[in-house]
């Protein structure tokens, strides 16, 4: 009985901490994105609200919350609101299986900094990732607007193509680790003294592209396409409802997929890895905190890389995007999968 209560309390604390971190960080990533975008274009970005615009997300949130809540005529109110929930919940749920660090002990209780270490963690991630397409399709359909519908159809096309690609891309690390649990995959990489990015560079590149496509980042942002489609499926949303979609798509999803990429390819919370040499930890002086710092560092570097790509590249056409997915990336992942499946049992272990 006592064990159950302790487990409940720990889980609740974990849920609150993870939600607070994810949503708070998600809000502040808007500022990071604006700053990065601005500096790439040699502007300073937000400077007025707070020191170098540090309070800008709060001001934006306040503005969005106090705006009028508009609803398009002849739209479907139920689906319109359901789309929001469908967008927000799966994106945040992914963090349930993201391991932030190794197991540690507080007051004699062993705590894994992962909400649920289910043994099908990765399956859960990509199942929840596929749910995003529902939200977008519903948002476009319920808005009763041509722009929104076109945007959502484009996004649905992209997500359907890249969901296949991303699933095949992560097969390689799964075969190497022999498990679907995110926590165990990191453990395996630490035990085997090797990040899987060194063995699976192809899969990593394909994963990065698929991640960009799933989150609607440039060069795959046809569903937003400010120039042609205003902002795609979010056209008819107003106020905070409008704010939620980019928050979910551009920040929370990118964050969760970067975290999964770090777990799969970059060894989770492990320090820098050089093949045949093992792990080198320049942050050893942080002691037990160093794994957490490494994890956060890797995720933020990956996120900054995505931003960097976003503000550099132009946009592909929809046909080019799906063509790349089906004709280039999928064969590459097949080749990668077959090679891994054939060679890994012979050489590995």
């Amino acid at each position: 009985m006592e064990g159950v209560v302790a487990w409940l309390i720990i889980t609740l604390i974990k849920i609150v901490v993870i939600l607070a971190i994810v949503l708070g960080v998600g809000a502040y990533l808007t500022l990071v994105e604006r700053k990065v975008a601005a500096h790439i274009q040699r502007r300073p970005g937000p400077m007025v609200v707070g020191w170098h615009g540090l309070l800008q997300p709060l001001a934006d949130g306040l503005k969005l919350l106090t705006k009028e809540d508009l609803f398009p005529r002849y739209g479907n109110q139920f689906l319109y609101n359901l789309a929001l929930v469908m967008a927000l919940v799966p994106a945040t749920l992914v963090f349930a299986v993201v391991p932030f660090g190794p197991e540690f002990e507080v007051f004699g209780i062993k705590v894994k900094p992962i909400l649920t270490d289910v043994n099908i963690g990765l399956l859960l991630v990509f199942a929840l990732g596929s749910m995003a397409v529902f939200a977008i399709a519903l948002a476009g359909w319920a808005s009763n607007s041509k722009y929104a519908l076109i945007g959502s159809m484009r996004k649905a096309g992209i997500v359907v193509s890249y969901e296949v690609v991303i699933t095949f891309a992560v097969m390689g690390p799964i075969i190497l680790a022999g498990t679907l649990s995110t926590y165990d995959i990191v453990q395996k990489q630490i035990e085997q003294n090797l990040w899987y990015v060194w063995l699976q560079p192809l899969a990593f590149v394909v994963y990065m592209f698929a991640m960009l496509a799933e989150t609607g980042r440039v060069p795959f942002d046809v569903q937003e396409a400010e120039a042609e489609l205003v902002t795609g499926f979010t056209v008819e949303y107003g106020g905070m409802k409008f704010g939620l979609f980019p928050l979910v798509e551009w920040y929370i999803e990118v964050l969760s997929l970067s975290a999964i990429a770090v777990v799969l390819f970059l060894g989770g919370w492990s320090p820098i890895n050089i093949p045949f040499l093992g792990f080198i930890d320049p942050l050893f002086f942080l002691g037990p905190l160093s794994p957490f710092v490494w994890f956060i560092l890797k995720v933020s570097l990956l996120f900054l890389f995505v931003l960097w790509l976003h503000w550099t590249l132009p946009r592909y056409r929809i046909d080019q995007i799906t063509e790349t997915a089906w004709k280039v990336m999928l064969p590459i992942t097949f080749v990668n999968l077959v090679l891994t499946a054939v060679i890994a049992p012979l050489v590995w272990r």
Binding site: V36, A38, H39, I40, Q41, R42, R43, P44, M47, W308, L309, W311, T312, L313
Partner: protein, 207 residues
């Protein structure tokens, strides 16, 4: 001769290692760490070049009028020349030149000693296109366009410049920039400091 330019197809090396991506990324990262070029507008202001077409003003009589044109016009119209007042000789050439003439309201008055001077000179800038034809037409270098460009106001009344306002803008201009040689924008090393010397207290200009 038509020069035909074709897009060079990417080589396989470029395709495999994303070399064109890397080239683009290196450009953006180099720019990201450079100094920004923004003017923080309400806090920092650039002074426009001298030939900027901003608010209008009347230059005042200060002994630097274009001669002999000024003396000829004064003689013809028997204008009372008073230092520190507008150079306007009420010739109406500005109104003639204007594409929207009704924006000018110009009247002269006759003084008891038989001389004349300008009494009303209103410009309704709601109608103005800032084309500068009136400035070109002015024979005595009286009407001119200043560097004042923050022309927003709360009422329509404020957008009508009357004679006093025009003279004030003119006096301010003659104090600040009359001596300055014409420069093109990029050579104007003084533009950073010049704006803050503006001590005009117009309702439109005040912040």
């Amino acid at each position: 001769m038509v020069k035909r330019v074709f897009e060079r197809p990417l080589s396989w090396i470029e395709r495999i290692f994303f070399l064109d991506f890397i080239r683009g990324l290196s450009v953006t990262i180099r720019h990201a760490f450079r100094k920004t070029i923004t003017t923080h507008y309400p806090y920092e202001k650039l002074t426009p070049p001298k030939r900027f077409r901003g608010f209008f003003g009347h230059k005042v009589v200060d002994g630097k009028e274009p001669q002999p044109a000024f003396d000829e016009w004064v003689e013809r119209f028997k204008i009372q020349v008073e230092p520190g007042k507008s150079r306007c000789v009420v010739c109406m050439l500005c109104k003639r030149a204007c594409p929207v003439p009704q924006l000018f309201e110009i009247e002269g008055e006759k003084l008891p000693d038989g001389k004349r001077r300008v009494s009303v000179f209103n410009m309704n800038l709601m109608l103005c296109t800032f084309c500068g034809f009136c400035v070109d037409a002015c024979p005595v270098d009286c009407l001119f366009q200043s560097d004042i460009h923050e022309t927003a106001s709360y009422t329509r009344r404020d957008s009508v410049l009357d004679l006093q306002t025009l003279e004030r803008i003119g006096r301010d201009w003659q104090r600040r920039r009359e001596e300055e040689p014409d420069r093109i924008w990029i050579d104007d090393y003084q533009r950073q400091r010049l704006w803050h010397e503006n001590d005009l207290k117009l309702p439109e200009v005040e912040r």
